[in-house]
């Protein structure tokens, strides 16, 4: 049964890193989409939301094409830094980040759109620069909505299967995450391991959803 903790810890590490990345990427992109009008904004929003609706295997394929050894980014990284992402846990992080990204983006955009632009104007007149306006007005007003989305993204990253399997494979102890381990255990007929893995996965996700639910009815007066 000890073997079950390895994929759990790996999954938590991968999902944690992916969520941290998405916190910056999703909040930044969500703020830009909420506050700035530019040509192609709707198209950009659609493209960035694509990972939510595309099959994970399609996303995994895109990633393989991009960061695989022969892919433009993958080849560049390998030639200049000797970095190889395919079949590594960092590759799994990239897959999980991509798949969960729209959840943070959507909630961040909605949360920032709910902030009265008049408050940001008031802060500017009072002498604040744009970064200070963001950190002192926009973000504190929107953080509840953002955090709910971040928790959902964490749960989604934790359960990621398809894209992860294609990009990172299933190397026990190195890239075999929880959801991949469940699949392998069932395939190998190890019902005890499968039961245990399924149980801890479910419990973890219920915990995350409960926390997200407490945050979701975003009180604007946080």
């Amino acid at each position: 049964m000890d073997a079950a903790w390895v994929p759990l810890l790996l999954s938590l590490k991968v999902a944690g890193c992916a969520t941290l990345l998405n916190l910056f990427l999703g909040v930044g992109a969500g703020f830009a989409l909420a506050r700035y009008r530019f040509p192609g904004r709707d198209l950009l929003d659609a493209v960035l939301t694509l990972p939510m609706v595309l099959p994970p295997t399609v996303l995994g394929y895109y990633l393989l094409v991009l960061i695989g050894k022969k892919g433009p980014l993958g080849a560049w990284l390998f030639d200049h830094f000797g970095i190889q992402l395919i079949f590594t846990w960092q590759g799994a992080v990239i897959a999980a980040t991509l798949v969960a990204f729209p959840l943070v983006l959507k909630s961040a955009r909605a949360a920032f759109e709910g902030v009265d632009p008049q408050l940001e104007r008031a802060a500017r007149v009072l002498g604040l620069g744009e970064w200070a306006v963001f950190f002192r007005v926009s973000l504190p007003m929107a953080w509840r909505g953002i955090l709910a989305g971040v928790l959902l993204a964490f749960a989604r990253a934790l359960g990621e299967f398809g894209a992860t399997l294609m990009v990172a494979g299933s190397i026990p102890g190195r890239t075999q995450t929880l959801s991949v381990a469940v699949y392998e255990a069932v395939q190998a007929g190890q019902d005890d391991t499968a039961n245990f893995l399924v149980l801890i996965t479910s419990l973890t996700c219920i915990l995350v959803l409960l926390s997200a639910g407490r945050l979701a009815p975003a009180r604007p007066l946080a």
Binding site: D116, Q118, L119, R121, A122, A123, R124, V125, L126, G127, L128, G129, W131, A132, F135, R136, V137, P140, M141, P220, L221, A222
Partner: protein, 223 residues
């Protein structure tokens, strides 16, 4: 003596199929100027342009001898450096901060809001002057209309602005409170000797504050 406000701007605003043209030209040397007109006449746009919240297409804005905007020179002083006190129609108090923090907001320019117990002497002085000490720790939604307005005024004045820009300052108040707050503001302006520009559609505001009265309609000054 240079004019307090010397404004000459054009701006075309589009929203959907509607198109609104602002073409303003006015110069005033009075301490108290009121721009009066119906809603939709371009009053708020005017105030926003002066404060640097809206960029005109052409023209220039000179306040107390300092050029804040000049399209020909591509000069556009950012809002935060223009040094105005702006009283928004709905006051735009920060709902996530208490009265004390709202007033102290502009005293700190960094990335962090003032702490809940902020006690700079200027903040204390305005809390006392506006009788807000009892509610200093409360959030804006817990305040009465008059307290909200006083908090917003204190927040604007604590930065020692060069002039006050007032957007329909009494519209959000009950009628009986309006008369009292007008007197309060008038006394305050006399005491501080700070110039002001008010926009309003309320004839009583015009009568009470307008040393110079400008009428605006369809984006143009009429008199």
């Amino acid at each position: 003596m240079s004019a307090v406000f010397d404004v000459q701007i054009q701006k075309t605003v589009r929203s959907g199929a509607r198109r609104f043209e602002l073409d303003l030209h006015f110069k005033t040397t009075a301490q108290r100027t009121v721009i009066y007109g119906p809603s939709g006449a371009g009053k708020s746009l005017t105030l926003q342009a002066i404060a640097g919240l809206l960029k005109p297409d052409a023209g220039q804005i000179v306040v107390q001898g300092q050029t804040l905007f000049d399209a020909k020179q591509s000069l556009d002083v950012p809002s935060r450096m223009r040094g105005f006190g702006y009283l928004f129609q709905d006051y735009a108090l920060f709902p996530h901060l208490n009265v004390r923090q709202n007033i102290a907001f502009g005293l700190r320019r960094g990335w962090l809001n003032p702490p809940a117990a902020v006690a700079e002497p200027e903040v204390q002085r305005w809390l006392q002057a506006f009788e807000l000490e009892a509610v200093a720790g409360q959030r804006p939604h817990e305040l009465s209309g008059g307290q909200r307005q006083r908090t917003a005024l204190a927040r604007a004045l604590v930065n020692q602005p060069r002039a006050l820009l007032l957007d329909e300052p009494f519209a959000a108040l009950d009628p009986e409170l309006r008369a009292r707050m007008r007197e309060e503001l008038l006394a305050l302006l006399d005491r501080l000797q700070i110039p002001m520009l008010m926009i309003t559609h309320d004839p009583e505001d015009l009568a009470c504050f307008g040393q110079v009265k400008l009428l605006i309609a369809e984006g143009r000054i009429q008199s």
